[in-house]
């Protein structure tokens, strides 16, 4: 029963969403909007589980003095401070949560991560563009042409370079991209079908049938 009920819910909701796609009637739209509201409510409850897991995981790390345990203190303090500020002063724009924690902590930290990404891209590009094989050499040439064609220097060097870069992006690159996208779309449909029909049950996890 524990397995059958989720499977039935999944089947009913899956078929309903499929039908909804073809029915523009307000009743169908209302059902869709209501179900998206339910998803938000379920997510809110799941967040409690998530935060619980976070606290338990880091408390355990602290108790067992596992490698890097001081970072767990930082995490737990951050959780506590955010919760106190959020509950005390709210989450509206202009509240300390937004002005202090979001603007002065989160935004700069996120910006730093993005900046690090630039360096990682350089190191990954170095590895990818080493012309060790014929294919890698081809990739190197194509990347060189595309990158040069996208910057003003490329146009200054040779007027046709931006056109060639555009061609590489919109013809051979697009062909490969569309091939992948077709596969992704079909794979997604097949997986949805398997989940709706209960063929794929991995997502159900435990529980007795």
């Amino acid at each position: 029963m524990k397995r059958n009920i989720p499977l039935i819910i999944c089947l009913v909701m899956g078929v309903m969403m499929m039908v909804q796609f073809f029915v523009p009637h307000p009743v169908s739209v209302a059902v869709y909007e209501l179900s998206t509201k339910w998803i938000r409510i379920v997510a809110a409850f799941a967040l409690v589980l998530g935060v619980g897991s976070l606290i338990m995981y880091h408390t355990d790390r602290l108790r067992r003095r596992r490698t890097g345990w001081p970072y767990s203190i930082v995490t737990l303090v951050a959780v506590a401070v955010t919760t106190v500020i959020g509950l005390g002063w709210g989450v509206r724009p202009g509240s300390p949560l937004q002005n202090v924690l979001f603007q002065n902590f989160l935004v700069p930290l996120n910006a730093s991560m993005f900046a690090i990404l630039a360096f990682y891209m350089a190191s990954a590009a170095y590895r990818a563009f080493r012309a060790r094989t014929k294919e890698a050499a081809l990739l190197l040439v194509a990347a060189f042409v595309v990158m040069l064609g996208m910057v003003p220097v490329g146009r200054a060097l040779w007027g046709k370079l931006p056109e060639i870069a555009e061609w590489v992006l919109s013809v051979p690159n697009m062909a490969a991209k569309r091939g992948i996208l077709f596969g992704v779309a079909l794979g997604a449909i097949a997986t949805s079908l398997k989940v709706i029909l209960g063929i794929e049950r991995g997502w159900l996890g435990g529980g007795k049938s």
Binding site: V23, G68, N110, M121, W203, G205
Partner: protein
């Protein structure tokens, strides 16, 4: 004298001609050619189309609506280049007539009122019939191959190197005594890639339980975390090692994208895992994760349906599941006939689409020849709104 008079008269004539106002040519009334309930909508909308009358173009068109109750409203104006209007303020099941006015300067020339028409919601979007047919065709294919597989017939699936490497990757972690990190993507559970990743996690966790390795599953979404924990627990039970399951091995980190990336990076740097799995939906953090993993010397198996992140994974990881390989993984790893059958149906569906694309391209080219323009209708069937 005669010459002088003639000259004066001529000048006078010219002067008179110059000061006379030019005859004003007004645009003639437009003709309403179509007024209908907007097709395939949720109601409350009527579509109007008209044909400009003879003469010069007006400066602007005015639209007027009269309800069956006699209430008349000016709905608004439309630039002179347009010859259509969609009234989104109509009430359902109330008959309306419309008039269009051509406005030029201070003059307004009204058209004849249209026939009365009612707005109503539709129960079926006819512009999506093509999708429905495609879906039914695809479903039939998948169900056929599932039945085929159920009868015990062997179905060929091509080798996927990334999935063949799973066994080796888990074995390596066992030998080295180091953990395995599994990142189920950053998207929520409504994404198919996340569901596919969760399915793979089940299979990978079974192998990990058999080999008695350590698994770490950091999560970004609380629902995904809950599902992942249950899936891993179930996998350990199925592998006959429920005691080996550690509830803390699957944990929630944060729902903030880069904070999550930083946390997983920290985890990889501290724990030095032997194997990293990055399977699911990834965004800008994909390379941050994969590069950090590569610097720690781990074997990395990645897979995503995001075409923008694939190049990063291909560059920084040892094996990458490209696009639909991610969805095929659970069938490939489990070899369950039902799943393999659906995978085969998926492949045949892809071939059908390929054939339709080739045929459609040929028909589209042929439709450019005036005599064969009717082919355009066939290709038009594949357009959606």
């Amino acid at each position: 004298m005669e010459l002088l008079l003639t000259g004066l008269l001529t000048v006078g004539q010219v002067g008179v001609a110059d000061t006379m106002p030019a005859p004003v040519v007004l645009p003639t009334a437009a003709r309403i050619v179509r007024v209908q309930d907007t097709p395939n909508d949720r109601g409350g909308s009527i579509t109007l189309q008209w044909q400009p009358g003879e003469g010069p173009r007006p400066e602007v068109w005015l639209i007027e609506r009269t309800a069956s109750t006699g209430e008349t409203e000016l709905l608004g104006s439309v630039p002179c280049e347009e010859t259509g209007y969609q009234d989104e303020t109509a009430r359902n099941y109330v008959p309306y007539t419309y008039r269009v006015a051509a406005v030029a300067g201070c003059d307004t020339v009204w058209s004849e009122p249209s026939v009365a028409v009612k707005a109503s919601p539709q129960f079926f979007n006819t512009s999506r019939v093509n999708i429905l047919i495609g879906m039914i065709l695809f479903f039939v294919l998948v169900v056929y191959f599932i039945e085929h597989a159920k009868r015990g017939r062997t179905l060929f699936i091509r080798r996927i190197a990334g999935l063949d490497a799973v066994e080796e990757a888990v074995g390596r972690a066992t030998e080295m005594g180091k953990p395995i990190v599994y990142v189920p993507g950053l998207a929520d559970v409504s994404q198919i890639a996340t569901i596919a990743s969760i399915n793979i996690l089940g299979e990978v966790a079974k192998k990990i339980a058999q080999y008695d390795s350590t698994l770490l599953v950091p999560n970004r979404d609380p629902i995904v975390y809950t599902v992942a924990r249950e899936v891993v627990k179930e996998a350990y039970t199925k592998a006959g090692r429920p005691d080996a399951f550690k509830p803390d091995s699957v944990f929630f980190v944060t729902s903030e994208q880069f904070a999550y990336a930083a946390a997983v990076d920290g985890l990889m740097v501290r724990e030095k895992p032997a194997t990293n799995f990055f399977l699911g939906t990834f965004w800008a953090e994909s390379l941050i994760l994969a590069e950090t993993g590569a610097t720690t010397g781990a074997i990395q198996i990645a897979g995503t349906d995001s075409v923008f992140q694939l190049p990063f994974f291909i560059t920084a990881c040892d094996y990458t599941l490209i696009g639909e390989e991610l969805y095929a993984a659970s069938a490939y790893l489990s070899r369950e006939p039902l799943l393999v059958g659906s995978l085969k149906g998926q492949d045949i569906g892809k071939m059908v689409i390929l054939a339709v694309i080739v045929l459609g391209s040929v028909l589209m080219l042929l439709s450019k020849i005036p005599v064969l323009s009717f082919f355009g209708r066939i290709t038009g069937f594949f357009e959606t709104s």
